[in-house]
């Protein structure tokens, strides 16, 4: 929930979703972030996407590391369990939770510092394992909570609030994830809910690791002139060349797309993703093409956003592990303990 207080009594009855819940039911505690922080907009987009998807709040598990970004899981879906863990270690924690209970919907919120510095090794391996989760990097190019150090995503030439310019080349989480075989890779901008909400929905439906790198300006430490992660800079350089609409399993299409350059992807649960791509031949199932496209745009100082790559066929962590369909936490003890008889037989091997 963003930090602007809402009137306590709604003026008109609020719209409800399939579960009969209102948007309010997907909100969380009051945000304690700076007014205007990009992260709050992402929170709002998640809130709305989850509401529109009619996700049962108790089925949502929201986890994070440490940072301003990592505080945000408190600000959406109070009815969901949350875990604000330690800096950089959210990916393994989600991996373990997911292994234990595959029936929940896991959303991990991280920062560029959290994911690409201290957590870089874990990020890499969560991608590799194709852990079934939505992974949001709230990317502001800076360490917000510790007050403004450059992060690993700061662009060369981007200047700090105090004037020093970054020299070290950045890590682009999109390129990194693509090169590691990620199965769902998107980029968006906190200021663009119209694009972000359908991406979040698609990410929830995706079977496997769904990365959403969201440029999310830090108004406190990285929104000045010279920063390439400022509202101003992103607005100037963002190209929404790749846009998409999320079509739920019911098949009811809520937005009309120009037929030109449409790509449809069938999701695991029967829903459909329809892309409108401006470069007419962009193929979101071509990994190298996506990398090439993003790399070229970077040279032009452009930031292409949208769902850039998807592979619905790759096995996820549970397929790789052949985990039983029943969540492990729900297996009764009897199905886990071989019992005294088996033990006695096993002992025979050690006589």
């Amino acid at each position: 929930m963003p930090s602007i207080r809402k009137p306590l009594i709604p003026l008109a009855p609020l719209p409800v979703n399939e579960l009969g819940l209102t948007l309010r039911d997907y909100e969380g505690g009051m945000s304690t972030l700076c007014a205007g922080c990009g992260h709050d907009s992402i929170t709002a987009a998640i809130t709305r996407a989850f509401f529109e998807l009619s996700l049962p709040p108790e089925k949502i598990a929201k986890l994070s590391g440490i940072g301003c970004s990592s505080k945000t899981p408190t600000y959406f879906v109070s009815g969901a369990h949350g875990f604000n863990s330690v800096h950089g270690r959210m990916p393994p924690i989600v991996t373990g939770a997911n292994a234990a209970n595959r029936s929940s919907i896991y959303i991990g919120i991280s920062g560029d510092g959290d994911s690409l510095s201290i957590g870089a090794g874990h990020f890499v391996h969560a991608v590799r394992r194709n852990v079934n989760m939505v992974y949001v990097i709230e990317n502001n190019g800076v360490y917000g909570l510790t007050k403004g150090q450059f992060s690993a995503t700061a662009d060369v030439g981007s200047s700090a609030k105090k004037g020093a310019a970054n020299e070290t080349p950045p890590i682009d989480p999109v390129i990194l994830a693509l090169s590691l075989g990620a199965t769902f890779v998107a980029r968006s901008f906190s200021g663009d809910k119209g694009q972000l909400i359908p991406i979040i929905k698609a990410a929830v439906e995706h079977k496997g690791f769904a990365l959403i790198d969201v440029i999310s300006p830090c108004i406190q430490f990285n929104n000045h002139e010279g920063s390439t992660k400022s509202y101003h800079y992103v607005r100037e350089h963002e190209i929404k060349e790749i846009d998409q609409v999320y079509i739920p399993p019911s098949g009811e299409i809520t937005a009309v797309l120009p037929e030109d350059g449409i790509v449809k992807v069938k999701m695991f649960d029967g829903s459909t993703l329809a892309f409108r791509t401006l470069p007419p031949h962009y193929d979101p199932r071509d990994r190298e093409g996506a990398m090439h496209y993003v790399n070229q745009a970077r040279l032009r100082r452009e930031i292409p956003t949208g769902l850039l790559f998807i592979d619905e066929d790759a096995p996820d962590v549970h397929e790789l592990n052949s985990t039983t369909d029943t969540p492990l936490v729900d297996l009764p003890y009897e199905s886990l303990c071989p019992g005294s008889g088996a033990l006695a037989r096993f002992m025979e091997g050690f006589k």
Binding site: N84, T95, G96, G121, N321, Y333, L336, M347
Partner: protein
Amino acid sequence: MTLSDNLETELNHTSRYVATSGVNDFAIRFANVNGTGSASANNLLLKSIFRMGIPVSGKNLFPSNIQGLPTWYELRVNGKGHTARASEFDLVVAMNGQTYREDVASLKSGGYLLYDSSWPLPKELMREDVNILGVPLSNLCTEPFPGSKERVLLRNIAYAGAVSALLDLDHSIVSEMLDEKYKKNEILRSSNQIALTIGYNYAKENFECPLPIRVAPLGVNANKILIDGNTTAALGCVYAGATVAGWYPITPATSIAENFLKLCERYRTFEVTRPDGTVEVKRNFAVLQAEDEIAALGMVVGAAWAGARSFTSTSGPGISLMNEIIGLAYYTEIPAVIINVQRTGPSTGMPTRVQQADLMTCAYASHGDTKHILLFPADPNECFSFAAKAFDLAEHFQTPVMMLSDLDIGMNDWVVDKLEWDDNYVWDRGRVLNSEQLAELPNFLRYSDPDDDYVTSRTLPGKDSKGAYFTRGSGHDRFGGYTESPEAYQDVVDRLTKKLQRAASYVPEPIIKSKPGSNLGVITIGSCEAAVLEALEILDEGGVSLDYMRLRGFPFDQSVRKFIDDHENCIVVEQNRDAQLRSLLILDLGVDPNLLRSVLSYGGFPLSTKSVVEGIEDLIKD
């Protein structure tokens, strides 16, 4: 110096700790090169003696390397059941030129030296006061085994054959074991049998078999098994119902996770037929090989948060890396089972050698004020039951529990009582509220309403919105809310102090063996047991009577305090440099340091009786 000075004169200074060698009472050292397959020969002998119903132990002293470096195997037979590591040997099988000098030095006067006499006796092996048994192992193997790699391996089986003749092992048992082992590979079976016979016959024909050091069948192993602690620890995790393991390879802990995987594949998989008719094997577990130890424990904590019994197994360096997340689990009150198979530190140290040097680091792991439940198994049997117990304690107290095994227990085969499982066991999941219980509450407050053990109730994600709360490693109050208020913060951490105090009466109670009238106590832990018990027997024979207490869990219960109070002085025997167990006793019970003296061993080999006897004697003499 208050330690019974008067006892000194009663001490007998001959080498009492070297058991007089003879029937069912001797020790053998096999000196090998690693990667040459000697393990199966040595194991064959160990197991055959075990099957003859005689107490026996085998200690594998191996290098941190895959091939080409010295490795020793020490086998001790003792009819009275004393199977601590021997420090002098009755028979040395010298198969490694690099270590001849120290091998022959480890032989007792009058002992036997077996060497490969295909070549002349190396001068480093010369010793006037021992019996030299040359067996031309290489020559004997040349003809039957033309392949050089095969020959290297089978030469070992040949010496096993010779040794079995010398010691009077039951040939049918030895030979049967080879049949069992190679039942699926006739070629290997027969070549092994041939090698065994070659060695056996050579010894029979050329030496007076059996030697005075020899075995005589006993019937004491009927209810025993020969097993290593990492196998039993893994079994304990299976029987406790653990479903998620997060781990990263590290010697000497690796085989716990690997065994857990194998056991789960055996007991926890089932087949499902896919719509297209193909069959898929499904698994009621997840074993996650992590990218590092931080991730391994992260996975465990994530799984435990979600409600699964989960564990990791590691060794010293892994514990160091896990420090931050151990503190997270402690403060957020998430169960986590960590099995630390201790090796020699600090740093990488000697990864294939044993120590008990992670006691302090585990008891107080992580920054800030923390304290953790520890379990100290002494043998593979306790590894099984304590591993299972660890899950009950972790879930009951909602906190990390560390089981501190070590390389000696974990990787050597021990003769222990058969493992038993009570089918009426009910796992203690601790205070986890289900939807019905939640429905009865006005609202759910995570860290409120502690029970007698100062434990509060938790809920699991994915279940019920009413139970939703926010887990955080940052400051939180009794309601689970974020706080930076001193009082609200202290309220929670003060409860944690009390909770950990309560755990003292839940960990396995100490094993105490007292004799009337003794005012000296010996306190020890884990794999020291065999050596300490034997040492006490030897000292007792010399007229020094000491009471015995083996600690099995931390925090320490009042029974531990009582034992110390009941004695004028206690000696703490442990395998580390800095007297860490003694430190824990002093801090946890507030014992006066002057009342506790130390016998320390930290060279990396399993504790020998000799070092304990000498250590205690030195203290008493002082």
